[in-house]
Amino acid sequence: MTKNSSPRRARGLRLIKRTTQGIALGALGLTGLVAAEAAGHTTAHHSASSTPTQSQSTTNTDPAAASEATTAASSLQAPSSTPSSSSSSSSGVVSGGS
């Protein structure tokens, strides 16, 4: 009987295979878990280390800056003489101000 065909070796090879599969599955599961955890939080990387070349999407903007912009838009809209005619905020601001 050769070394490769011994039952002990065959059992060992099965053990290597099973353990490797377990590690691989664990690693994949952990990858999904960490990715989900990262997605659950605000993307600190994209807001903190912002590069000027790429614009951020509306969902990833700084909440403080977003609320500030909303306040500014509403304060500009307030003196509008034609409140019923404004369909969008940006057009309303321009037409109301002028």
Binding site: R8, R9, G12, L13, L15, I16, T19, T20, I23, A24, A27, L30, T31, G32, L33, V34, A35, A36, E37, A38, A39, T43, A44, H45, H46, S49, T51, Q54, N60
Partner: protein
């Protein structure tokens, strides 16, 4: 954004897999095995864990480059300290990757390059791992989060424990004599593994 999440996740998992690989490597060197888990199983799992960590490392690098938000090119992943974005911390990652690549390639070519050269290059693992850890702490987005601190602490304590075991005298120090008494035909080279 999905690529960025993938980058972060694969980075963490690669660190864990590298830690496991180092621990298994030490167990292999110290011949820590049992009747149910023979040494060649420890060796095989060590090798597969190393290859798995290389696969995750490849995904980590490729997803970082493909994400495109920060200016990191493929060359920056291989050439240390040349990146425009966080050159030092990214350089550590590149350095670790280069050392790991050397270890893996020489392991695959072990029969061709000889045991002595393979062993010398394999010592790079003990440099590559802390460099990878420094890279993860220095540039990892999640480095400050509580769960990542726990992961880092577990990895560090695992490798420290492995190093302590590595420094301990071999538990089978008397076994060559015992084995040679039982099987005198076996050569010392075979016993050395």
């Amino acid at each position: 954004m999905a690529l960025w999440y993938l980058t972060r996740a694969t980075g963490v998992v690669t660190l864990i897999l590298l830690t496991l690989t180092v621990a298994l490597g030490v167990a292999d060197v110290k011949r820590l095995h049992s009747r149910r888990i023979p040494r060649f199983v420890v060796d095989g799992v060590h090798r597969n864990a190393a290859l798995l960590s290389v696969a995750f490392l490849a995904v980590h690098v490729l997803s970082t480059v493909a994400d495109g938000y920060v200016p990191i090119h493929l060359a920056d992943a291989v050439i240390p300290f040349g990146a425009a974005y966080r050159p030092f911390w990214l350089g550590l990652g590149a350095l670790s990757l280069d050392m790991l690549a050397a270890v893996v390639i020489t392991s695959l070519l072990r029969r061709r390059i000889g045991r002595r050269a393979w062993r010398l290059i394999h010592w790079l693992t003990y440099v590559s791992w802390p460099v990878a850890l420094a890279h993860s702490i220095g540039t990892g987005t999640d480095a400050g989060s509580r769960w990542m601190l726990i992961v880092t602490a577990c990895c560090v304590s695992t490798v420290l424990a492995a190093l302590l075991v590595r420094r301990m005298p071999r538990p089978t120090a008397a076994s060559p004599r015992r084995l040679s008494a039982a099987a005198p035909a076996r050569s010392p080279r075979a016993l050395r593994g």
